[in-house]
Each structure stands twice: as structure tokens, then as C-alpha cells.
Amino acid sequence: MNNDVVTQQHGDYMVVRLSGEVDLSWSPRVRMAILDALEKHQGVGVELSAVSYIDSSGIAALVEGFQNARKSGRRFALAAVSPAVMAVLELARLDRVFPIVPDIDTAIRGDAA
């Protein structure tokens, strides 16, 4: 699967849909996409169902987005997290840190995880 970032606007909420392998070659772009979305919207949901691999640099991009949103009072969630990503989140003990929701619609509605 090719690496890709697709953004989708839902009113004041931005969905960032990632696919492929989020590694050192790709994570800077992912980071920029997330931070850019947070700058212009009240909420950002990162959809991860099509991510087959993520390394610590990809995780770092997600952490930075989450911290940025918290500081500026915006909503941030990870949605439809693939097993490959969940395994790394658990390894880094971050599975309880991020707001994680089962699908992007839940993220848009702002339901608690």
C-alpha cells in the first residue's frame, strides 16, 4: 500500500486519513498534516485503519498533535486504529494516553472513547 495523507473537512472538524507505512521517511509529512489541520480547525481526527506500520517517529507526530491540541483547547482523537498501530501504541504505553475511538464518525461527534 502506498503512503498517503488524505484530509476531509466536516464543518469545523478535520479528518486526516493516513495509509501505508508511517516511518522516518514519511512521518515528517504526517506531522505537518496534523499540525496544519489543528491550526485551522477546532478538532482533528486521525484515521489509522489503513496504516500497516508505524515507527517511533510516526508515534512522535501523533503525540505532538495530541499535545498541541490540548494546549490550544482543541479536540484530538485517533480513530479506527489498525492492529499494527495499536501494537506499537501498547509497546510505548501510549494506548491509554490518546483519546482512541472506534471510527471517525464517533470522533466527529466528539463522543468519549
Binding site: 507505512e21 516511518d23 521517511s25 506500520y53 517517529s57 503525540v63 509497546l91 510505548a92 494516553v97
Partner: protein
């Protein structure tokens, strides 16, 4: 013929036998308080004699093993304690056999009465009453009353009351017996535990890697009759013993401890194996008199020449396996501890790169379906795992034996010089230290780890950890510079080893530490992932002042081969 219990109870309730009720309650309490029947039973019998206005009484207990009724408690002018009667004899026997109260109004003219006691003691029995000590599992004894004071005979009301009064006595005796059995079981369990601990303490400790002897012992029951031992001689040879004691249980365990100590000491005396067995046999013949015996195999292994010298006493043949050939070395001496003055043969084997398997007969006797495993089954078991290193081979063989049915204690001792297996290399790849190359490297790593037999979930974690190592080299070691990374994956036994070499400026290993995971911040996770996934890692500068080597390792045993 006695009245039914309901009638007796009804009369008692009407006041006619209210005292009987009171006595019944007292007896029940007295007998329930203590399990020591030596004091409570005579007391209970005295109370019954007083209440029933009898001149004498006896309490007989039935011994089903000897088929006799024995007088255990006695009240009255004549002491009958210890008197044994056949269940076919007299009124007591009838009460037991028919499990019913017997009344004799005129003992002098009743053929059912056994008169030997009167003849021997001078006591004159006029009237008799005998009630069985009834339990749910049948009568366990009889209470017999002699002569009602005042001269009149015992009647049916007496019979009903005695049957009632016998009930708490029967219950108390039963309880006491069960308590005794329980105590006996606890005592035996303590003895078994002690014997088990003793046996475990006798088995030698596992040696460091590279020691040529490995052994395993599987008890079929609580205590094993098998044992093994090995020890180093002052001249560097290794002495070894495998033994199997006849019989089961505690006696066999005690003989095992004695035989194991004896064989160890005789072996340490630097005797030839045949003499070693001869001496042990003489000693065991002098001290073993209950028909028990010991099968044993003893020997020395000299590492410098790789020669084994051994001798056997009633032990199954030793199996020597080298390449594709098997050779059985018979162990034709008789077992130890039976006949003194016997001499034993000896055998020598050039071990070379072969393997010597010493099995107790429990291995041969393992059930495979309806048949025994036998020598052929043992060979195919060895064949199946011949490619594995000694430790995992023995473990796999034991697992299979457990899966089959052990009918006897099972011991295997394996003598084999550790082979130097060159590590198998699964991947060696040099690539430019650029992020864009990592995807291809990960794909190659996955393929290599699949070939190395790594389970998928572990494989993905290992790929992640190695990828993190590469990322750290690219970002922190080379920084803005360029260079190559060489990644290699190899297996050494159960260990997967990963190595990343770079040509970057040397990194101070002390500065490379995983961060605290409790901090939630974007960077610095890579080392944590390596630290969590791998069993160990180390970073060292390469000799010559250029480059670093990151070594990581993870224990990952080879998957077991499928059954053929």
C-alpha cells in the same frame, strides 16, 4: 425379637423410657467429645450396664481381615478383654451376622449360646442380650449384656433400648477409625513429601553450558524409584550413574537414596566400572533383605580422548547413535543386591561426535496406544529430534513421553560433546543510511525472520526494533552526513542476534539511555522500543575509531518439527 425403634421411641416419649432418652443424649455427647475411645467406651458401657441393670457387659469389634470378633471393652466380674470369637460362634456372632438384636431368656438351655466362657471363668450366664453396632456399611461389632439384676430375663423393650444405645457407640467408633485413617494418610503424605525432597536433593544440579552430560527424570507416581548422578574426578574424567530401584513407594525411595549414595561414593573411589558395580553389589547384598534390588549403569567419560567406559547391572542396553547408525551396548550383569560375589562386564565406546543414550526401562515401557514404545519407538523418537541441540532434544523427547503414557519412572541420561554449530545467517544487507531505504530493509527483515521460524507477532516487533536502531543511526549517528548501514540477522541456537554497523563518528555508549516512558513527549521512544522488544542490546564503537556496532539479541527457540 426386639420392638421396632419407632415403638421404643413412642414409649419413651410417653414417659415410660424418658430416662433412656436422657442416657442416649448423654452417651452421644460423651462419645462425640473425644476420639480417644480407650476412656470413653468403657465409660459408655458402664452407663449402659447401670441403666439396663445388667450384671456384666462386653463390647466386641469385628476384624474383617482376620474374620474374628474381639472383645475390646468389658464390664463386670470377668475380664473378657482380648477374647476372640468367630462370627459363627454364639449369640455375639449371630447378632453380627444377622445385624439384629438377639435375646436369650434361658441361656443354660439355649443351643445358640457358646458356653466355653462360662466353663473357663465360673460365671453363670442366665440371660443374654446382644445388639449389633450398626453403621450404614453394616455392623462393625456387638454389645452384649449378661444377666439382668433381679433375676428376670431381658425382654423386647430391653432389646429396643439397647439397640438405640448402641447407635452412638457405633458412630463414635466409626468416627475414631476415620480420624485414625486421616491421621495415617497425613503421616504418609508427610513421609512422601520428605522422600520427594530427599530425592530431589540427591539429583545433581544442572551444569553450565558445554557440559557433556544431561539427564532428566520423570516420576510415574509421587516418588521416583529412578535416580541419576554425575560428578567430576580429580583427573578430569566425569563419572556418571543411572539407577532404578525395584518396587514403588517409600521403601523403594529409601533404598534409592541408599543406593544413590553408595554408587556415588564407590565411583569416587576411582574403581573400574566393573569393580565399582561389584563393590556396590556386595554392600547392597549385606543390607537389603526384603527381596528388593537395584538396576544400575555406571561409567566414566574422559573428555580428552572422548572414550566412555561403562558397566551395567540389569539395566536396559545403552544406545549409541552416530550419523545414521545405532548400536546397542548390552548391560548383561544381574541387578545389584540379590547375589553376592558376582563379577560384572565392561564396555568401552569411542564417543567421537556421537550420542550415548542411557534409558531406564520406564522409557521402553511407555505406552504408545495399546503397545509399548519399545526399542524401535525410542530410536524413532531420537531420530525425530536428532537435529536439535542436546537440551532441546531431550526436552522434546520428554514432552513426547509425557504425551504418551508413563507406566514407570523414566530417566534419560544423554552423553554428548557439545557441537559447535556455526551461527546460521539469515540476512546481511548493506544500504545507504537514508530514511527512504528503510521500507525495503523492513521487507527483507520480515522474510529473514520468517525463514528463522519467528512467530508473526514477535517478528513484527523485532522488525520494529531493528528499524528503530536504523533510524537512530540515520538521525543521531550520521546526522547530516552520509554513510552506509550493514544489518545482519543470525541464529545461534535458541538466540536470534541482530547487528547494525555504521561508519559514523563514534557515539559514547553512556549517552545512549532509554527515556522514562511515563513522560509523554514526542521523541526518544526508539531506544525504549529496542529495550522492551529485545532481551538485551549493547552499543560499542568499532575498533579503529570509525563507526559503531549496535548488537541486539532475543531468545526465540526453533519451532518443534511436526510429527512424521
Amino acid at each position: 425379637m426386639s420392638l421396632p425403634a419407632a415403638t421404643v421411641l413412642a414409649r419413651a416419649a410417653e414417659g415410660e423410657g424418658a430416662q433412656a432418652f436422657a442416657l442416649l443424649a448423654e452417651l452421644s455427647e460423651t462419645l462425640a467429645i473425644s476420639l480417644d475411645l480407650r476412656t470413653t467406651l468403657p465409660e459408655a458401657l458402664n452407663r449402659i450396664v447401670d441403666y439396663m441393670a445388667a450384671e456384666a457387659a462386653s463390647l466386641f469389634l469385628f476384624d474383617p481381615v482376620e474374620n474374628v470378633l474381639e472383645c475390646k471393652v468389658c464390664v463386670g466380674p470377668v475380664d473378657l478383654s482380648g477374647l476372640k470369637l468367630s462370627p459363627e460362634q454364639g449369640i455375639v456372632g449371630l447378632a453380627l451376622v444377622q445385624n439384629a438384636v438377639q435375646i436369650v431368656a434361658d441361656a443354660q438351655n439355649d443351643d445358640r449360646v457358646h458356653r466355653r466362657v462360662d466353663a473357663e471363668t465360673g460365671f453363670i450366664t442366665r440371660s443374654l442380650l446382644a445388639a449389633p453396632l450398626a453403621t450404614a456399611n453394616g455392623p462393625i461389632g456387638v454389645i452384649e449384656l449378661f444377666n439382668k439384676r433381679g433375676g428376670q430375663p431381658f425382654d423386647t423393650v430391653d432389646a429396643g433400648i439397647l439397640r438405640l444405645l448402641a447407635a452412638p457407640a457405633a458412630l463414635a467408633i466409626n468416627n475414631a477409625r476415620m480420624a485414625r485413617e486421616l491421621l495415617e494418610q497425613q503421616r504418609l503424605k508427610r513421609e512422601f513429601d520428605l522422600a520427594r525432597r530427599l530425592q530431589k536433593a540427591l539429583l545433581p544440579r544442572r551444569r553450565r553450558a558445554g557440559f557433556p552430560l544431561l539427564a532428566v527424570n520423570l516420576p510415574a507416581h509421587e516418588i521416583s524409584g529412578d535416580f541419576y548422578d554425575y560428578f567430576e574426578m580429580p583427573d578430569g574424567r566425569i563419572g556418571f550413574v543411572v539407577g532404578d530401584v525395584s518396587g514403588k513407594g517409600l521403601d523403594a525411595a529409601l533404598l534409592m537414596t541408599r543406593a544413590a549414595s553408595l554408587l556415588r561414593w564407590a565411583g569416587k573411589d576411582d574403581l573400574a566400572p566393573s569393580e565399582w558395580l561389584r563393590r556396590a553389589n556386595e554392600e547392597l547384598c549385606q543390607t537389603t533383605h526384603d527381596g528388593r534390588f537395584v538396576c544400575a549403569l555406571v561409567g566414566y567419560y574422559e573428555r580428552s580422548t572422548r572414550v566412555v567406559r561403562l558397566a551395567g547391572a540389569g539395566f536396559p542396553p545403552v544406545l549409541f547413535h552416530m550419523g545414521n547408525t545405532y548400536r546397542e551396548l548390552p548391560s548383561d550383569g544381574p541387578p545389584l543386591g540379590i547375589v553376592p560375589g558376582i563379577s560384572f562386564g565392561e564396555a568401552a565406546v569411542a564417543l567421537g561426535d556421537g550420542s550415548l543414550y542411557c534409558f531406564s526401562d520406564g522409557v521402553i515401557d511407555v505406552r504408545s496406544g495399546a503397545s509399548r514404545l519399545g526399542h524401535a519407538g525410542v530410536r524413532s523418537l531420537i531420530e525425530r529430534y536428532a537435529g536439535s541441540p542436546p537440551e532441546s532434544r531431550l526436552r522434546s523427547i520428554v514432552q513426547e513421553l509425557r504425551y504418551l503414557k508413563l507406566v514407570d519412572d523414566t530417566t534419560i541420561l544423554l552423553l554428548e560433546e557439545p557441537r559447535v554449530h556455526p551461527p546460521e545467517v539469515y540476512l546481511r544487507q548493506t544500504f545507504a543510511a537514508e530514511p527512504e531505504r528503510l521500507r525495503g530493509v523492513r521487507a527483507n527483515l520480515r522474510l529473514a525472520l520468517d525463514r528463522a521460524g519467528t512467530p508473526p507477532q514477535l517478528r513484527d516487533r523485532l522488525v520494529l526494533a531493528v528499524d528503530e536502531g536504523c533510524c537512530n543511526i540515520i538521525r543521531h549517528a550520521y546526522r547530516d552526513g552520509t554513510g552506509d548501514i550493514t544489518v545482519s540477522v543470525r541464529r545461534d541456537g535458541d538466540m536470534l542476534e541482530f547487528e547494525l554497523r555504521d561508519a559514523a563518528p563514534p557515539v559514547d555508549p553512556d549517552c545512549v539511555r532509554p527515556r522514562d516512558l511515563d513522560e509523554c513527549r514526542p521523541g526518544g521512544l526508539g531506544l525504549n522500543i529496542i529495550d522492551t522488544v529485545m532481551d538485551g542490546w549493547c552499543l560499542q564503537p568499532r575498533p579503529g575509531g570509525i563507526g559503531n556496532v549496535l548488537r541486539m539479541w532475543k531468545r526465540c527457540p526453533l519451532p518443534q518439527e511436526e510429527d512424521q
